[in-house]
Symmetry: C2
Amino acid sequence: MEKIDQFIERNRDLYIKWLTDFCGIPSVAAQNRGMEDAVKYLDELFDTAFSIEPEKLQTSGFPVVFAELKGKSDRTLSFYNHYDVQPEDPVELWETPAFEPDIRNGKIFARGVADNKGNLIARLAALHAIQEVGEELPVNIKCIFEGEEEIGSLNLPEFAEKYAEKIHSDGCVWEFGYRDADGATQVSLGVKGMLYVELQAKGANTDLHSAQAAIIESPVWKLVWALNSLKDQNEKILIPGFYDDIEPITALDDEMLSRYRLDEKETLNKLGLEHFVLNLEGHRLKEKHIFEPTCNICGIVSGYTGEGTKTVLPSEAKAKLDFRLVPGQDPEKVLAQLRQHLDANGFKDISIHVTSSERAARTKPDEAIVEAMIAVAEQYGDKKPNIVPNTPGTGPMYELCQALGIPSASFGVGNFESNNHAPNENINVEDYIEGIKMIAALVFEFSKQFEKEGSVHS
Amino acid sequence: MEKIDQFIERNRDLYIKWLTDFCGIPSVAAQNRGMEDAVKYLDELFDTAFSIEPEKLQTSGFPVVFAELKGKSDRTLSFYNHYDVQPEDPVELWETPAFEPDIRNGKIFARGVADNKGNLIARLAALHAIQEVGEELPVNIKCIFEGEEEIGSLNLPEFAEKYAEKIHSDGCVWEFGYRDADGATQVSLGVKGMLYVELQAKGANTDLHSAQAAIIESPVWKLVWALNSLKDQNEKILIPGFYDDIEPITALDDEMLSRYRLDEKETLNKLGLEHFVLNLEGHRLKEKHIFEPTCNICGIVSGYTGEGTKTVLPSEAKAKLDFRLVPGQDPEKVLAQLRQHLDANGFKDISIHVTSSERAARTKPDEAIVEAMIAVAEQYGDKKPNIVPNTPGTGPMYELCQALGIPSASFGVGNFESNNHAPNENINVEDYIEGIKMIAALVFEFSKQFEKEGSVHS
């Protein structure tokens, strides 16, 4: 690996440029901005790096960029990433423009640099470095880069079903990855699922002078009452049946949770907070973080929200909610439960519009991809890797991997303060360079797992 | 009056131009736009119409434009109006730009044309017409035009105290006035009070990826729970003590309420609604509208409110609330009760910022100003005037009138679908011309009340 690592070091400026050029493209799927440019950029990069043109596999939404690189064994490792990013607002809180990547204090700042363009480019850079030093890839590689992860991967389940054979692999490196505050690499074995909905309440056909509020129904009050009916102040989600199907936590899960490290003090400090929700700490805090579902309000808006006073009775009110789900929960069933709950509580006229629906996923810790990843993380880090049974985040892992029998796990170039989905998103330059080396090492380590153990992992 | 009315008819284009020119000025106090231009316009109009320059009485905010015209008796009639208007948003719902007055289908459309530039200019036009036909004013006139009504007249109580003598009168024509759907003129004897507050909840020091929602407190959930604690689904305001000081409804009030007409079907039709709040109708509906306080959400905002999906845990949440108060309720006391209620329910960290605080006011129906107004409304309308004990709207009437012993009442050029505070605000051209005539007639009728009845009304 030394030769490859040295090559990566010598070419760090090139690989940083690959990344910052990519991050300069505002590929916000939610707003249909820069998506074609992002695909074009990937086309050019594959041409430059590997002299191939990736396929653009069409979906009902943005295409999946797909490429295969042949290796010497018949084993296949796949990389799942996405070329879309979150919107950049609140724009005014960015220190430098979100889509003008800026390197300062050893960090690269840009929307998407951590989530997930840094990982996507690091993987291509690793493959490039392996080939450039004259090594043959030990396994086949499949790159699966979608364009709708940040809007809920609505078309990916259909894609995964249609292209099940084409995208099949013996292990998948999932899109994200972070380091803890102490520098330890997180190895993540799964994701939470998600149901993302927009609720809308309507009142009169126009905004009214608020003097009318005594006799005209208010859609924003209705929405407030409806939201209040969903979760109580003890964070209990009140939708009947919501918790029923959750898979019990196994002894192995619980053991992993005990070993999983969450730096409470560092996290609170960084966020300017004095305590976690419900004053939780220790094992119970970790348990809620990793193993429990959420009901979060991502946004709410109604009426006059500008400066000063406006006395108005708004004509409509909207809220965006995300439910993070855990293994066993079916987003379709949760949606039906939500509708039923609203109807039963007098909110029949509040509409629900679904924008994302994904199941949770977890890979078992004895799979080749997991063991290879842990081995690499141990080689490259001076801290013991932090193994997370599933991250609290979401992605279409179930649909793309577990449902097709593909074990999946994840590490990557982000850090504990990467500010994903928030202003001033960033990664450390050194984590990025190290991340490239770790992916190169993982390709060989993954291959070794099969040589070592025969067909145990097949 | 015939000569004056004919003069008004002959000069209708002039008086319409006075109004549309004034409405072209975006005097939005909440945004400090066009306020100086509005004052300058009034200066020029007083110069054109009466060859006088009004005083600009300074306050801590925008000045009060004040002018006196001498009449032949020692009685004084005052006009209270405001030259500021509401913000124009939602801009996209206006058929023509809010500050480019447009006359179509017999209506003048512009922000502020009904609330309250139409009335302000109609009053000046009436005085102009009286003088132009060679008549002497029968009473002294005082014009009191403030610039902060739409932002809660925060500086008017201090102003009224300071200039109590200067602004004293025997009766005040209040700023607003409307016609019902059947064309009847509303004569209003009072206003509700108001407490307008902005509530703010804060969470982490930055927006976070919503995966964090399992363990980090959400300010928007906190705000939803806090709002929910303020009012239940039966419209009962839950703040302890809120209803305690309300003055009981007298037999006279109730009798007036019985005579007050609210066209339920027309109102519902116009608003595209099937029923009023709580399915109320008839006397109970009118009672709630006129005599009961409200707690309304004027606006709420937190997190991502754009198109599509963004999975974010917002770092703050804000709501704007107006409480419309009724006689007996003290906004300062309500504010203290609100603070105490939030504290007692676990919302100590939700901040309250007050932007408006006004008491309710009601004038007795046997005052000269009321009798004169009813007499004029009967002369000019073919429908019996609709007498409203107090309107459900708000203004600084208590501070400017009742607190100083000045009876006050109101009629004006608006209509039942004037869309005050809403897109496509308008008045009927004919109501405007008729309104000018009615103000001219009122000046004489008000004087007559004192001739007729000696000092009864003094």
